[in-house]
Symmetry: C2
Protein backbone atom coordinates (compact mmCIF):
# COMPACT_ATOMS: atom_id res chain seq x y z
CA UNK A 1 0.00 0.00 0.00
CA UNK A 2 1.06 3.59 -0.41
CA UNK A 3 1.37 5.85 2.62
CA UNK A 4 -1.80 7.70 1.57
CA UNK A 5 -3.78 4.45 1.25
CA UNK A 6 -2.50 3.22 4.62
CA UNK A 7 -3.40 6.48 6.38
CA UNK A 8 -6.83 6.45 4.73
CA UNK A 9 -7.34 2.95 6.15
CA UNK A 10 -6.22 4.10 9.61
CA UNK A 11 -8.85 6.84 9.46
CA UNK A 12 -11.50 4.09 9.33
CA UNK A 13 -10.28 2.79 12.73
CA UNK A 14 -11.16 4.35 16.10
CA UNK A 15 -9.34 7.73 16.12
CA UNK A 16 -8.45 9.70 19.23
CA UNK A 17 -9.47 13.41 19.05
CA UNK A 18 -5.76 14.15 19.67
CA UNK A 19 -5.04 12.67 16.23
CA UNK A 20 -6.57 15.71 14.46
CA UNK A 21 -7.94 13.24 11.87
CA UNK A 22 -4.30 12.27 11.01
CA UNK A 23 -4.00 15.49 9.03
CA UNK A 24 -1.02 16.84 10.93
CA UNK A 25 2.56 15.92 11.82
CA UNK A 26 1.79 15.97 15.53
CA UNK A 27 -0.94 14.94 17.94
CA UNK A 28 -2.24 17.13 20.77
CA UNK A 29 -2.82 15.10 23.90
CA UNK A 30 -4.57 16.64 26.90
CA UNK A 31 -5.60 13.75 29.11
CA UNK A 32 -4.04 14.61 32.46
CA UNK A 33 -1.13 12.60 33.84
CA UNK A 34 -0.15 9.88 31.37
CA UNK A 35 1.51 6.50 31.60
CA UNK A 36 3.68 6.08 28.51
CA UNK A 37 5.23 2.88 27.19
CA UNK A 38 6.75 1.76 23.91
CA UNK A 39 7.65 -1.63 22.44
CA UNK A 40 9.27 -2.61 19.19
CA UNK A 41 8.69 -5.99 17.53
CA UNK A 42 11.19 -7.34 14.99
CA UNK A 43 10.37 -10.00 12.39
CA UNK A 44 12.51 -13.07 13.03
CA UNK A 45 13.17 -11.98 16.62
CA UNK A 46 9.87 -11.20 18.34
CA UNK A 47 7.59 -12.79 15.78
CA UNK A 48 7.97 -15.38 13.05
CA UNK A 49 7.85 -14.48 9.35
CA UNK A 50 5.06 -17.09 9.14
CA UNK A 51 2.94 -15.50 11.91
CA UNK A 52 -0.28 -14.07 10.41
CA UNK A 53 -0.10 -10.27 10.04
CA UNK A 54 -3.40 -9.97 11.95
CA UNK A 55 -1.75 -11.61 14.95
CA UNK A 56 1.39 -9.44 14.67
CA UNK A 57 -0.84 -6.35 14.89
CA UNK A 58 -2.67 -7.82 17.86
CA UNK A 59 0.55 -8.71 19.67
CA UNK A 60 2.20 -5.36 18.95
CA UNK A 61 -0.66 -3.46 20.55
CA UNK A 62 -1.43 -6.02 23.28
CA UNK A 63 2.16 -6.10 24.60
CA UNK A 64 2.05 -2.34 25.05
CA UNK A 65 -1.38 -2.46 26.71
CA UNK A 66 0.05 -5.09 29.06
CA UNK A 67 2.57 -2.52 30.31
CA UNK A 68 -0.32 -0.12 30.91
CA UNK A 69 -2.21 -2.88 32.74
CA UNK A 70 0.74 -3.30 35.13
CA UNK A 71 0.29 0.35 36.14
CA UNK A 72 -3.48 0.09 36.51
CA UNK A 73 -3.94 2.49 33.59
CA UNK A 74 -6.84 2.79 31.16
CA UNK A 75 -5.69 2.83 27.50
CA UNK A 76 -5.97 6.29 25.95
CA UNK A 77 -4.50 5.53 22.52
CA UNK A 78 -1.46 4.52 20.51
CA UNK A 79 1.15 5.80 18.07
CA UNK A 80 2.07 3.33 15.30
CA UNK A 81 5.42 3.29 13.43
CA UNK A 82 4.76 1.07 10.46
CA UNK A 83 6.90 -0.21 7.56
CA UNK A 84 4.76 -0.28 4.42
CA UNK A 85 5.03 -3.68 2.78
CA UNK A 86 3.09 -5.72 0.30
CA UNK A 87 -0.62 -5.04 0.00
CA UNK A 88 -1.84 -8.37 1.37
CA UNK A 89 0.26 -8.12 4.52
CA UNK A 90 -0.69 -4.48 5.11
CA UNK A 91 -4.40 -5.24 4.75
CA UNK A 92 -4.20 -8.24 7.07
CA UNK A 93 -2.27 -6.12 9.58
CA UNK A 94 -5.00 -3.46 9.48
CA UNK A 95 -7.63 -6.15 10.17
CA UNK A 96 -5.78 -7.30 13.27
CA UNK A 97 -5.26 -3.70 14.31
CA UNK A 98 -9.00 -3.01 14.10
CA UNK A 99 -9.62 -6.15 16.21
CA UNK A 100 -7.23 -5.29 19.00
CA UNK A 101 -8.24 -1.62 19.15
CA UNK A 102 -11.94 -2.37 19.44
CA UNK A 103 -11.41 -5.29 21.85
CA UNK A 104 -9.48 -3.09 24.29
CA UNK A 105 -11.28 0.21 23.55
CA UNK A 106 -8.11 1.93 22.34
CA UNK A 107 -7.69 4.56 19.66
CA UNK A 108 -5.13 5.73 17.10
CA UNK A 109 -3.35 8.95 18.09
CA UNK A 110 -0.77 9.13 15.30
CA UNK A 111 2.40 7.55 13.98
CA UNK A 112 4.77 7.33 11.06
CA UNK A 113 5.06 5.10 8.00
CA UNK A 114 8.35 4.21 6.36
CA UNK A 115 9.62 2.11 3.49
CA UNK A 116 12.24 -0.55 4.23
CA UNK A 117 14.94 -1.72 1.83
CA UNK A 118 14.03 -4.91 -0.07
CA UNK A 119 14.11 -8.08 2.05
CA UNK A 120 14.70 -6.21 5.30
CA UNK A 121 12.89 -7.75 8.28
CA UNK A 122 9.87 -5.76 9.42
CA UNK A 123 10.41 -3.56 12.48
CA UNK A 124 7.21 -2.23 14.07
CA UNK A 125 6.82 0.09 17.03
CA UNK A 126 3.81 1.02 19.11
CA UNK A 127 3.80 3.67 21.82
CA UNK A 128 0.81 3.48 24.16
CA UNK A 129 -0.68 6.10 26.45
CA UNK A 130 -2.82 5.35 29.49
CA UNK A 131 -4.68 7.54 31.97
CA UNK A 132 -6.06 7.27 35.52
CA UNK A 133 -3.15 5.20 36.73
CA UNK A 134 -2.19 4.32 40.30
CA UNK A 135 1.14 3.36 38.68
CA UNK A 136 2.94 1.12 41.17
CA UNK A 137 6.64 0.96 40.30
CA UNK A 138 8.52 -2.30 39.97
CA UNK A 139 10.81 -1.08 42.76
CA UNK A 140 8.28 -0.94 45.62
CA UNK A 141 8.43 -4.51 46.99
CA UNK A 142 8.96 -4.64 50.78
CA UNK A 143 10.68 -7.17 53.02
CA UNK A 144 8.15 -9.82 53.97
CA UNK A 145 5.93 -9.20 50.92
CA UNK A 146 4.70 -12.19 48.98
CA UNK A 147 5.13 -12.49 45.20
CA UNK A 148 1.96 -13.13 43.20
CA UNK A 149 1.15 -13.78 39.56
CA UNK A 150 -2.18 -13.63 37.71
CA UNK A 151 -3.48 -16.33 35.37
CA UNK A 152 -1.27 -19.14 34.15
CA UNK A 153 2.36 -19.19 33.01
CA UNK A 154 4.05 -21.00 30.10
CA UNK A 155 1.16 -21.13 27.64
CA UNK A 156 2.72 -18.65 25.23
CA UNK A 157 6.11 -20.41 25.40
CA UNK A 158 4.39 -23.66 24.44
CA UNK A 159 2.52 -21.70 21.74
CA UNK A 160 5.81 -20.59 20.20
CA UNK A 161 6.98 -24.24 20.05
CA UNK A 162 3.65 -25.10 18.42
CA UNK A 163 4.00 -22.28 15.87
CA UNK A 164 7.49 -23.56 14.97
CA UNK A 165 6.46 -27.25 14.81
CA UNK A 166 3.14 -26.38 13.16
CA UNK A 167 1.21 -28.74 15.44
CA UNK A 168 -0.30 -28.63 18.93
CA UNK A 169 -3.33 -27.28 20.82
CA UNK A 170 -4.89 -24.12 19.32
CA UNK A 171 -5.42 -22.73 22.85
CA UNK A 172 -1.67 -22.59 23.50
CA UNK A 173 -0.92 -21.18 20.04
CA UNK A 174 -3.49 -18.43 20.72
CA UNK A 175 -1.74 -17.57 24.01
CA UNK A 176 1.43 -16.89 21.96
CA UNK A 177 -0.23 -15.06 19.08
CA UNK A 178 -3.09 -13.20 20.82
CA UNK A 179 -1.93 -12.31 24.35
CA UNK A 180 -4.62 -10.77 26.57
CA UNK A 181 -3.41 -7.73 28.52
CA UNK A 182 -4.80 -7.92 32.08
CA UNK A 183 -6.27 -4.42 32.07
CA UNK A 184 -9.19 -5.11 34.43
CA UNK A 185 -6.96 -6.94 36.92
CA UNK A 186 -4.42 -4.15 36.73
CA UNK A 187 -6.97 -1.45 37.55
CA UNK A 188 -8.19 -3.43 40.58
CA UNK A 189 -4.73 -4.34 41.85
CA UNK A 190 -2.70 -1.17 41.17
CA UNK A 191 -3.98 0.99 44.07
CA UNK A 192 -3.27 -1.78 46.62
CA UNK A 193 -0.04 -3.57 45.66
CA UNK A 194 3.52 -2.45 46.52
CA UNK A 195 5.12 -3.23 43.16
CA UNK A 196 3.83 -4.53 39.83
CA UNK A 197 5.07 -5.35 36.33
CA UNK A 198 3.98 -7.60 33.50
CA UNK A 199 5.68 -10.91 32.71
CA UNK A 200 7.14 -10.38 29.27
CA UNK A 201 10.65 -11.84 29.23
CA UNK A 202 10.05 -14.78 31.62
CA UNK A 203 8.64 -15.20 35.12
CA UNK A 204 12.04 -15.83 36.75
CA UNK A 205 13.93 -13.02 35.05
CA UNK A 206 11.09 -10.58 35.69
CA UNK A 207 10.82 -11.63 39.36
CA UNK A 208 14.58 -11.14 39.76
CA UNK A 209 14.27 -7.68 38.16
CA UNK A 210 11.56 -6.70 40.63
CA UNK A 211 13.76 -7.89 43.50
CA UNK A 212 16.81 -6.04 42.14
CA UNK A 213 14.84 -2.80 41.67
CA UNK A 214 13.48 -3.15 45.22
CA UNK A 215 16.91 -3.97 46.78
CA UNK A 216 15.61 -7.28 48.06
CA UNK A 217 16.06 -11.02 47.58
CA UNK A 218 13.19 -13.08 46.18
CA UNK A 219 12.52 -16.81 46.45
CA UNK A 220 10.15 -18.59 44.07
CA UNK A 221 8.47 -21.93 44.72
CA UNK A 222 8.42 -23.82 41.42
CA UNK A 223 5.51 -26.05 42.45
CA UNK A 224 3.30 -23.02 43.00
CA UNK A 225 3.70 -21.61 39.49
CA UNK A 226 0.19 -21.79 38.00
CA UNK A 227 -0.07 -23.93 34.84
CA UNK A 228 -3.08 -24.30 32.55
CA UNK A 229 -4.61 -27.70 31.93
CA UNK A 230 -3.60 -27.38 28.29
CA UNK A 231 0.01 -26.71 29.29
CA UNK A 232 0.07 -29.65 31.72
CA UNK A 233 -1.16 -31.94 28.97
CA UNK A 234 1.28 -30.50 26.42
CA UNK A 235 4.46 -30.44 28.51
CA UNK A 236 4.01 -29.68 32.19
CA UNK A 237 7.65 -28.56 32.47
CA UNK A 238 7.54 -25.89 35.19
CA UNK A 239 11.06 -24.62 34.68
CA UNK A 240 10.40 -24.15 30.95
CA UNK A 241 7.18 -22.27 31.78
CA UNK A 242 8.96 -20.03 34.26
CA UNK A 243 11.64 -18.95 31.76
CA UNK A 244 9.75 -18.85 28.44
CA UNK A 245 8.24 -15.34 28.60
CA UNK A 246 5.48 -13.75 26.50
CA UNK A 247 2.94 -14.54 29.25
CA UNK A 248 1.74 -10.93 29.75
CA UNK A 249 0.37 -11.82 33.18
CA UNK A 250 0.80 -9.40 36.09
CA UNK A 251 3.53 -10.06 38.64
CA UNK A 252 3.15 -8.15 41.90
CA UNK A 253 4.38 -7.76 45.44
CA UNK A 254 1.86 -7.40 48.26
CA UNK A 255 1.56 -8.39 51.92
CA UNK A 256 1.33 -12.12 52.58
CA UNK A 257 -2.26 -11.75 53.79
CA UNK A 258 -3.39 -9.94 50.60
CA UNK A 259 -6.71 -11.31 49.32
CA UNK A 260 -6.53 -11.97 45.58
CA UNK A 261 -7.44 -14.41 42.81
CA UNK A 262 -3.79 -14.36 41.76
CA UNK A 263 -1.42 -17.15 42.81
CA UNK A 264 1.15 -16.65 45.55
CA UNK A 265 4.39 -18.06 44.19
CA UNK A 266 7.18 -16.62 46.33
CA UNK A 267 8.40 -14.18 48.94
CA UNK A 268 10.71 -11.19 49.32
CA UNK A 269 13.36 -10.97 52.03
CA UNK A 270 16.38 -8.82 52.83
CA UNK A 271 19.45 -9.52 50.71
CA UNK A 272 19.67 -9.84 46.95
CA UNK A 273 19.24 -12.32 44.14
CA UNK A 274 16.77 -15.03 43.17
CA UNK A 275 16.52 -18.44 44.80
CA UNK A 276 14.37 -21.24 43.51
CA UNK A 277 12.90 -24.16 45.39
CA UNK A 278 10.53 -27.04 44.76
CA UNK A 279 8.28 -27.63 47.78
CA UNK A 280 11.09 -26.58 50.13
CA UNK A 281 13.96 -28.33 48.29
CA UNK A 282 16.47 -25.87 46.75
CA UNK A 283 16.66 -25.99 42.96
CA UNK A 284 19.69 -24.80 40.95
CA UNK A 285 18.93 -21.79 38.77
CA UNK A 286 18.71 -22.63 35.07
CA UNK A 287 21.39 -21.16 32.76
CA UNK A 288 18.84 -18.65 31.40
CA UNK A 289 16.12 -17.03 33.53
CA UNK A 290 14.32 -15.72 30.48
CA UNK A 291 14.73 -13.66 27.36
CA UNK A 292 17.58 -11.15 27.38
CA UNK A 293 18.42 -8.83 24.53
CA UNK A 294 21.72 -9.76 22.99
CA UNK A 295 23.84 -7.60 20.72
CA UNK A 296 24.00 -8.75 17.13
CA UNK A 297 27.67 -7.67 16.78
CA UNK B 1 26.61 -3.37 23.72
CA UNK B 2 24.21 -5.33 25.87
CA UNK B 3 20.84 -3.87 26.79
CA UNK B 4 22.04 -3.33 30.38
CA UNK B 5 25.16 -1.47 29.20
CA UNK B 6 23.11 0.68 26.84
CA UNK B 7 20.57 1.59 29.51
CA UNK B 8 23.40 2.37 31.95
CA UNK B 9 24.84 4.74 29.32
CA UNK B 10 21.42 6.37 28.82
CA UNK B 11 21.28 7.02 32.58
CA UNK B 12 24.33 9.26 32.16
CA UNK B 13 22.33 11.48 29.77
CA UNK B 14 19.78 14.10 30.86
CA UNK B 15 16.84 12.08 32.26
CA UNK B 16 13.29 13.36 32.60
CA UNK B 17 11.75 12.76 36.06
CA UNK B 18 9.01 10.83 34.22
CA UNK B 19 11.66 8.25 33.33
CA UNK B 20 11.77 6.92 36.90
CA UNK B 21 15.55 6.48 36.38
CA UNK B 22 14.76 3.99 33.57
CA UNK B 23 13.98 1.36 36.19
CA UNK B 24 10.44 0.70 34.98
CA UNK B 25 8.59 -0.46 31.87
CA UNK B 26 6.63 2.78 31.69
CA UNK B 27 7.14 6.49 32.13
CA UNK B 28 4.79 8.78 34.05
CA UNK B 29 4.29 12.07 32.28
CA UNK B 30 2.42 14.91 33.95
CA UNK B 31 3.26 18.02 31.97
CA UNK B 32 -0.13 19.40 31.00
CA UNK B 33 -1.31 19.31 27.38
CA UNK B 34 1.32 17.65 25.20
CA UNK B 35 2.32 17.83 21.57
CA UNK B 36 3.35 14.33 20.50
CA UNK B 37 5.25 13.35 17.37
CA UNK B 38 7.15 10.30 16.18
CA UNK B 39 9.60 9.63 13.37
CA UNK B 40 11.34 6.50 12.22
CA UNK B 41 14.68 6.56 10.36
CA UNK B 42 15.75 3.56 8.28
CA UNK B 43 19.36 2.83 7.28
CA UNK B 44 19.66 2.93 3.50
CA UNK B 45 16.43 4.96 3.21
CA UNK B 46 16.61 7.99 5.53
CA UNK B 47 20.32 7.83 6.25
CA UNK B 48 23.36 6.29 4.58
CA UNK B 49 25.19 3.30 6.07
CA UNK B 50 28.28 5.52 5.88
CA UNK B 51 26.73 8.41 7.86
CA UNK B 52 28.49 8.74 11.23
CA UNK B 53 26.42 7.25 14.06
CA UNK B 54 26.76 10.53 15.98
CA UNK B 55 24.99 12.32 13.12
CA UNK B 56 22.27 9.66 12.86
CA UNK B 57 21.47 10.23 16.55
CA UNK B 58 21.42 13.98 16.00
CA UNK B 59 19.16 13.74 12.98
CA UNK B 60 16.77 11.25 14.61
CA UNK B 61 16.15 13.58 17.54
CA UNK B 62 16.36 16.85 15.55
CA UNK B 63 13.73 15.78 12.99
CA UNK B 64 11.29 15.09 15.81
CA UNK B 65 12.11 18.37 17.54
CA UNK B 66 11.46 20.10 14.21
CA UNK B 67 7.86 18.83 14.32
CA UNK B 68 7.57 20.28 17.83
CA UNK B 69 9.03 23.58 16.58
CA UNK B 70 6.28 23.79 13.96
CA UNK B 71 3.73 23.75 16.82
CA UNK B 72 5.59 26.31 18.90
CA UNK B 73 6.24 23.67 21.56
CA UNK B 74 9.09 23.44 24.07
CA UNK B 75 10.73 19.98 24.08
CA UNK B 76 9.82 17.98 27.18
CA UNK B 77 11.63 14.74 26.35
CA UNK B 78 11.90 11.72 24.07
CA UNK B 79 11.32 7.98 23.88
CA UNK B 80 14.02 6.06 21.98
CA UNK B 81 13.47 2.70 20.23
CA UNK B 82 16.97 1.46 19.53
CA UNK B 83 18.41 -1.61 17.78
CA UNK B 84 21.53 -2.72 19.67
CA UNK B 85 24.38 -3.17 17.25
CA UNK B 86 28.12 -3.30 17.39
CA UNK B 87 29.84 -1.57 20.29
CA UNK B 88 31.58 1.13 18.28
CA UNK B 89 28.38 2.24 16.53
CA UNK B 90 26.37 2.18 19.75
CA UNK B 91 28.98 4.29 21.57
CA UNK B 92 29.18 6.80 18.74
CA UNK B 93 25.38 6.97 18.65
CA UNK B 94 25.30 7.72 22.38
CA UNK B 95 27.81 10.54 21.84
CA UNK B 96 25.59 12.17 19.23
CA UNK B 97 22.55 11.61 21.41
CA UNK B 98 24.22 13.43 24.31
CA UNK B 99 25.07 16.28 21.93
CA UNK B 100 21.59 16.78 20.54
CA UNK B 101 19.86 16.41 23.92
CA UNK B 102 22.04 19.00 25.61
CA UNK B 103 21.99 21.36 22.60
CA UNK B 104 18.18 21.49 22.60
CA UNK B 105 17.64 21.00 26.36
CA UNK B 106 15.74 17.74 25.91
CA UNK B 107 15.65 14.70 28.15
CA UNK B 108 15.22 10.93 27.93
CA UNK B 109 11.79 9.73 29.06
CA UNK B 110 12.09 6.05 28.16
CA UNK B 111 12.19 3.66 25.22
CA UNK B 112 12.94 0.11 24.15
CA UNK B 113 15.99 -1.73 22.88
CA UNK B 114 15.82 -4.64 20.47
CA UNK B 115 18.19 -6.95 18.65
CA UNK B 116 17.94 -7.17 14.86
CA UNK B 117 18.71 -10.22 12.74
CA UNK B 118 22.24 -10.22 11.27
CA UNK B 119 22.74 -7.73 8.40
CA UNK B 120 19.31 -6.15 8.82
CA UNK B 121 19.28 -2.40 8.21
CA UNK B 122 18.98 -0.36 11.37
CA UNK B 123 15.49 1.03 12.10
CA UNK B 124 15.38 3.72 14.79
CA UNK B 125 12.37 5.51 16.23
CA UNK B 126 12.11 8.59 18.41
CA UNK B 127 8.86 9.88 19.89
CA UNK B 128 9.08 13.45 21.16
CA UNK B 129 6.88 15.31 23.64
CA UNK B 130 6.52 19.08 23.82
CA UNK B 131 4.67 21.42 26.14
CA UNK B 132 3.35 25.01 26.10
CA UNK B 133 2.28 24.82 22.48
CA UNK B 134 0.10 27.21 20.54
CA UNK B 135 -0.07 24.32 18.04
CA UNK B 136 -1.21 25.84 14.74
CA UNK B 137 -2.49 23.05 12.47
CA UNK B 138 -1.34 22.67 8.88
CA UNK B 139 -4.97 23.10 7.83
CA UNK B 140 -5.51 26.69 8.98
CA UNK B 141 -4.33 28.69 5.95
CA UNK B 142 -6.87 31.30 4.77
CA UNK B 143 -7.66 32.73 1.35
CA UNK B 144 -5.37 35.70 0.77
CA UNK B 145 -2.70 34.51 3.21
CA UNK B 146 0.90 34.62 2.10
CA UNK B 147 3.19 31.58 2.34
CA UNK B 148 6.45 32.09 4.24
CA UNK B 149 9.50 29.97 4.94
CA UNK B 150 12.28 30.46 7.50
CA UNK B 151 16.01 30.21 6.74
CA UNK B 152 17.28 28.81 3.45
CA UNK B 153 16.13 25.86 1.36
CA UNK B 154 18.14 23.20 -0.48
CA UNK B 155 21.25 23.05 1.70
CA UNK B 156 20.46 19.58 3.06
CA UNK B 157 19.65 18.26 -0.41
CA UNK B 158 23.05 19.45 -1.60
CA UNK B 159 24.53 17.92 1.57
CA UNK B 160 23.14 14.52 0.64
CA UNK B 161 24.77 14.78 -2.80
CA UNK B 162 28.01 15.72 -1.06
CA UNK B 163 27.74 12.76 1.34
CA UNK B 164 27.27 10.43 -1.64
CA UNK B 165 30.08 11.98 -3.73
CA UNK B 166 32.31 12.38 -0.67
CA UNK B 167 33.27 15.92 -1.70
CA UNK B 168 31.83 19.41 -1.33
CA UNK B 169 31.43 22.22 1.21
CA UNK B 170 31.29 21.09 4.85
CA UNK B 171 28.55 23.66 5.56
CA UNK B 172 26.13 21.95 3.18
CA UNK B 173 27.06 18.48 4.45
CA UNK B 174 26.35 19.69 7.98
CA UNK B 175 22.89 20.92 6.91
CA UNK B 176 22.12 17.34 5.82
CA UNK B 177 23.67 15.57 8.80
CA UNK B 178 22.97 18.01 11.63
CA UNK B 179 19.66 19.77 10.92
CA UNK B 180 18.76 22.57 13.35
CA UNK B 181 15.15 22.48 14.51
CA UNK B 182 13.77 26.05 14.55
CA UNK B 183 12.47 25.86 18.10
CA UNK B 184 12.93 29.55 18.96
CA UNK B 185 11.30 30.70 15.69
CA UNK B 186 8.46 28.25 16.25
CA UNK B 187 7.69 29.60 19.71
CA UNK B 188 7.61 33.16 18.40
CA UNK B 189 5.55 32.38 15.30
CA UNK B 190 3.07 29.78 16.55
CA UNK B 191 0.66 32.10 18.41
CA UNK B 192 0.35 34.44 15.40
CA UNK B 193 0.33 32.34 12.20
CA UNK B 194 -2.70 30.61 10.66
CA UNK B 195 -1.00 27.33 9.71
CA UNK B 196 2.50 25.94 10.17
CA UNK B 197 4.50 22.78 9.45
CA UNK B 198 8.16 21.91 9.00
CA UNK B 199 9.71 21.30 5.60
CA UNK B 200 10.80 17.68 5.74
CA UNK B 201 9.87 16.04 2.44
CA UNK B 202 10.42 19.04 0.15
CA UNK B 203 9.23 22.65 0.04
CA UNK B 204 6.84 22.11 -2.89
CA UNK B 205 5.25 18.89 -1.63
CA UNK B 206 4.89 20.33 1.87
CA UNK B 207 3.37 23.57 0.54
CA UNK B 208 0.90 21.55 -1.53
CA UNK B 209 0.01 19.50 1.59
CA UNK B 210 -0.72 22.68 3.55
CA UNK B 211 -2.94 23.91 0.71
CA UNK B 212 -4.76 20.57 0.47
CA UNK B 213 -5.35 20.42 4.23
CA UNK B 214 -6.64 24.03 4.13
CA UNK B 215 -8.89 23.43 1.08
CA UNK B 216 -7.06 26.15 -0.87
CA UNK B 217 -4.80 26.59 -3.86
CA UNK B 218 -1.24 27.80 -3.37
CA UNK B 219 1.15 29.47 -5.80
CA UNK B 220 4.90 29.56 -5.20
CA UNK B 221 7.33 32.01 -6.79
CA UNK B 222 10.53 30.07 -7.54
CA UNK B 223 12.70 33.20 -7.58
CA UNK B 224 11.71 34.04 -4.02
CA UNK B 225 12.85 30.71 -2.54
CA UNK B 226 15.71 31.67 -0.19
CA UNK B 227 19.06 30.05 -1.04
CA UNK B 228 22.24 30.16 1.03
CA UNK B 229 25.43 31.56 -0.43
CA UNK B 230 26.99 28.11 -0.13
CA UNK B 231 24.10 26.59 -2.11
CA UNK B 232 24.30 29.27 -4.81
CA UNK B 233 28.00 28.55 -5.21
CA UNK B 234 27.46 24.78 -5.21
CA UNK B 235 24.49 24.49 -7.54
CA UNK B 236 21.99 27.32 -7.40
CA UNK B 237 19.27 25.09 -8.88
CA UNK B 238 16.06 26.46 -7.34
CA UNK B 239 13.80 23.64 -8.47
CA UNK B 240 16.19 21.06 -7.00
CA UNK B 241 16.25 23.02 -3.74
CA UNK B 242 12.45 23.23 -3.65
CA UNK B 243 11.98 19.46 -4.01
CA UNK B 244 14.95 17.99 -2.12
CA UNK B 245 13.57 17.99 1.43
CA UNK B 246 15.36 17.50 4.77
CA UNK B 247 15.43 21.31 5.24
CA UNK B 248 13.62 21.36 8.62
CA UNK B 249 12.70 25.00 8.13
CA UNK B 250 9.27 26.27 9.12
CA UNK B 251 6.66 26.82 6.43
CA UNK B 252 3.71 28.96 7.47
CA UNK B 253 0.64 30.82 6.31
CA UNK B 254 -0.01 34.33 7.63
CA UNK B 255 -1.54 37.58 6.38
CA UNK B 256 0.38 39.30 3.56
CA UNK B 257 1.25 42.20 5.88
CA UNK B 258 2.76 39.90 8.55
CA UNK B 259 6.07 41.26 9.86
CA UNK B 260 8.68 38.49 9.96
CA UNK B 261 12.31 37.64 9.22
CA UNK B 262 11.04 34.70 7.18
CA UNK B 263 10.81 34.91 3.40
CA UNK B 264 7.49 35.39 1.64
CA UNK B 265 7.48 32.85 -1.21
CA UNK B 266 3.87 32.46 -2.28
CA UNK B 267 0.18 33.01 -1.70
CA UNK B 268 -3.01 31.08 -0.99
CA UNK B 269 -6.19 31.55 -3.00
CA UNK B 270 -9.50 29.77 -3.44
CA UNK B 271 -9.36 26.59 -5.47
CA UNK B 272 -6.97 23.69 -5.13
CA UNK B 273 -3.52 22.52 -6.18
CA UNK B 274 -0.05 24.01 -6.49
CA UNK B 275 1.09 26.38 -9.21
CA UNK B 276 4.63 27.48 -9.73
CA UNK B 277 5.96 30.61 -11.36
CA UNK B 278 9.26 32.33 -11.95
CA UNK B 279 8.89 36.12 -11.54
CA UNK B 280 5.37 35.95 -12.98
CA UNK B 281 6.08 33.42 -15.74
CA UNK B 282 4.29 30.08 -15.17
CA UNK B 283 6.62 27.10 -14.64
CA UNK B 284 5.60 23.47 -15.24
CA UNK B 285 5.55 21.37 -12.08
CA UNK B 286 8.46 18.94 -11.87
CA UNK B 287 7.61 15.19 -12.00
CA UNK B 288 8.31 14.90 -8.26
CA UNK B 289 7.44 17.62 -5.73
CA UNK B 290 9.50 15.95 -3.01
CA UNK B 291 9.98 12.75 -1.10
CA UNK B 292 7.02 10.38 -1.00
CA UNK B 293 7.00 7.05 0.80
CA UNK B 294 6.83 4.22 -1.65
CA UNK B 295 5.83 0.63 -0.87
CA UNK B 296 8.66 -1.88 -1.11
CA UNK B 297 6.38 -4.62 -2.55
Amino acid sequence: MTEAEFIAALRELPLHPAARSLNDDTALLDAGPLVVTTDTLVEGVHFLPTDPAQDVAWKLVATNLSDLAAKGATPEGILLNYPLGDDAWDRAFLEGLADVLTTFDTRIIGGDTVTLPANAPRVLTVTAFGSDAAAPARSGAREGDALYVTGTIGDAGAGLAIALAKQGPAELLAAYRRPQPRLADGRILAPHVHAMMDVSDGLLIDASRMALASNLAVSVDLTRIPLSEAYRAFSGDRLAAATAGDDYQLLFAAPAEFVTDATRIGAFSSGSGLTLHDAGVPVLLPPSLGYEHRPRG
